[in-house]
């Protein structure tokens, strides 16, 4: 536990010194709602995820952007809905073939596949290769897949991002021979 306490001092983040509190505040609110409820293990897990992968949000300026409250509420509602719907896969388990334990990530932290795959690569220390629409991922033994609402294992990257976030239940990074079945072009 102790090793996580000092991580904040050494982490590299975008943003001016002295803005730590504000951006952290925003990050905590937007990425980490569940962390407050979970047990300590999840908390440290999530806070490490926050530091590695969540882009720091900018401080909110009063009355900016110049958008009426009624419009802001519409957008906020949409964001909250996608954040809080349990079965829709905001926090999802990630397993990697051969790894001893699973991880959990918050899909709403990412804007798209590029960010997500980068985060996974860092987390599990592997490389995912390049995505091709027809052949899938080429250039790596690893293939990122996910289980959708219907229980099928799908290749990550085929559908629009928003649809993926809504339908993804869990992630699995397949390796080796099993991965070849999903069209890995090696």
């Amino acid at each position: 536990m102790d090793e996580f306490v000092n991580l904040k001092e050494t982490e590299l983040r975008l943003g001016l010194p002295g803005t730590d509190n504000v951006s952290e505040e925003i990050e905590r609110v937007s990425c980490n709602k569940r962390a407050l409820q979970g047990d300590t293990e999840n908390e440290t897990e999530s806070s490490m995820m926050k530091m590695e992968t969540c882009p720091p949000r900018k401080a909110q300026i009063v009355g900016w952007p110049p958008v009426r409250s009624s419009r802001k509420n519409i957008i906020q509602t949409k964001k909250n809905e996608s954040d809080s719907e349990g079965g829709r896969g905001v926090y999802v388990k990630v397993s990697m073939d051969g790894a001893p334990y699973l991880r959990k990530i918050d899909l709403s932290c990412y804007k798209g596949y590029k960010e997500l795959l980068k985060a996974l690569e860092i987390m599990f220390n592997f490389s995912v290769g390049e995505y091709f629409e027809r052949e899938g991922y080429k250039g790596s033994d690893f293939v990122p897949t996910y289980e959708d609402k219907d229980g099928d294992w799908m290749l990550i990257g085929d559908v629009p991002w928003e649809m993926f976030v809504c339908t993804c239940k869990r992630l699995r990074i397949m390796k080796g021979s099993e991965a070849k079945g999903l069209g890995c072009g090696v």
Binding site: P55, R57, K58, I61, V62, G63, W64, P65, P66, V67, R68, S69, S70, R71, K72, I74, I75, T77, K78, K111, G112, P160, E162
Partner: protein
Amino acid sequence: MNYFPDEVIEHVFDFVTSHKDRNSISLVCKSWFKIERYSRQNVFIGNCYAINPERLLRRFPCFKSLTLKGKPHFADFNLVPHGWGGFVQPWIEALARSRVGLEELRLKRMVVTDESLELLSRSFVNFKSLVLVSCEGFSTDGLASIASNCRHLQDLDLQENEIDDHRGQWLSCFPETYTSLVTLNFACLEGETNLVALERLVARSPNLRSLKLNRAVPLDALARLMACAPQIVDLGVGSYEDEQDSESCLKLQAAIRKCTSLRSLSGFLEAAPHCLSAFHPVCHNLTSLNLSYAAEIHGSHLIKLIEHCKKLQRLWILDSIGDKGLEVVASTCKELQELRVFPTDLQGGGNTAVTEDGLVAISAGCPKLHSILYFCQQMTNAALITVAKNCPNFIRFRLCILEPHKPDHVTSQPLDEGFGAIVQACKNLKRLSVSGLLTDQVFLYIGMYATELEMLSIAFAGDTDKGMLYVLNGCKKMRKLEIRDSPFGDAALLADVNKYETMRSLWMSSCEVTLGGCKRLARKAPWLNVEIINENDNNRMEENGYEGRQKVDKLYLYRTVVGTRVDAPPFVWIH
């Protein structure tokens, strides 16, 4: 003209309806002033504190329609604290005591209470039209009074108000004998709606032209309503939530096909995309489409709808439509006059849904475009220069780059040249909002070229007082100037005090003006109300006997003929 009897002159004046023209007429001579004032039907008061009800009634004893505006524009973005002012009550009380046969009341950014609405509903026998825009302070009880008492009501139009919804039965307060409804807009109500009362009301309103529902009206009710009112011209569909009920969808499609007069569509607050196609049969007639609250609809569905709308003149949309979607708009909507693109990501730095490319595409494809409001993440000078060349007819040009101080994302230069091109090309520009990284130079251009400019909004721009001075000296027709978070101070504020008599108002927040500067201004210009809004410090600023070097958080000044207002809250000081 003095050889004609007054009645003839008055008859001629009847054909002059614009406020500006009537104001001009009244200045010609004493006799015209007198005839004009007794015959003016519509009075427009742009700032409710510039005049008072007594003087209004003394000058125009016979008007039928009154328009009043209260809070300054930045109140829309929560920059004006609650309780600042803009109360309509004293106006309604004064009008009720007088003999004015009020028929229409239009209020914008005012505080309206249930008491006000009740008094209004009881005081004017021929009251026909109530339009409330961005108002607050009342509940559905007030609406119930209007419904119960206004026998000849035609229009009840509630736009973007904050209404306390008591989920009462206000709709059922319209008497069964009441059949004169023409406009009903309650889209901003949050609570449940009595659907039975609503359907019966619509069924007995043969003159109904405009109906805008709130989110509590489900698809099957919408279908029944449209079946009752096939003559509808302007429809706000409320939530439009898909209940997986194909029967409702079929009924809706059938009802829609009969609405051959439909020209304007809005709502879709919680829309499910696949029912959107139900409207395709009427799209070719639409002139106005507002999908800016449809956060749930994916860009591709929006595009499919718009592809059918070849006659569109007005389009309000979310940036989820993307640049590609805007290209479709540009190639489809050749009659487009007004476009508003609202943001879906308020924080910036993320999903770049629309960029400068979309704006350029629109400017190239839509020759009749004259009004634009465009929220985006990035812009370039080159794009703005192209837009200016393509569209020299802009009357309103409002560009909001979400990240303050953001430069041209290709050259990293300020956007001075881009906006400069806009003001130079658009000789009829009346309204401008600037954003992104801007130096004093852009204001030099604005002062030089924007000769017709009446309203200018500035945020996070400029370097020195010179910027503001260029604008004040150059823009002879300026009426409303609103500035936030820009380094303009006392020197600019005080340079030409008489300028403010030619303007309606000036707003400056988070700038460099000081208390001392404001006090000096107030002394030099007793015809102005110089209001300082300081929510945080309350009275501490004055009590310390401060030399007045302290910066003022919010300054709002306006010309007035009735002096300091008496209803200001403690955190507003008026000098």
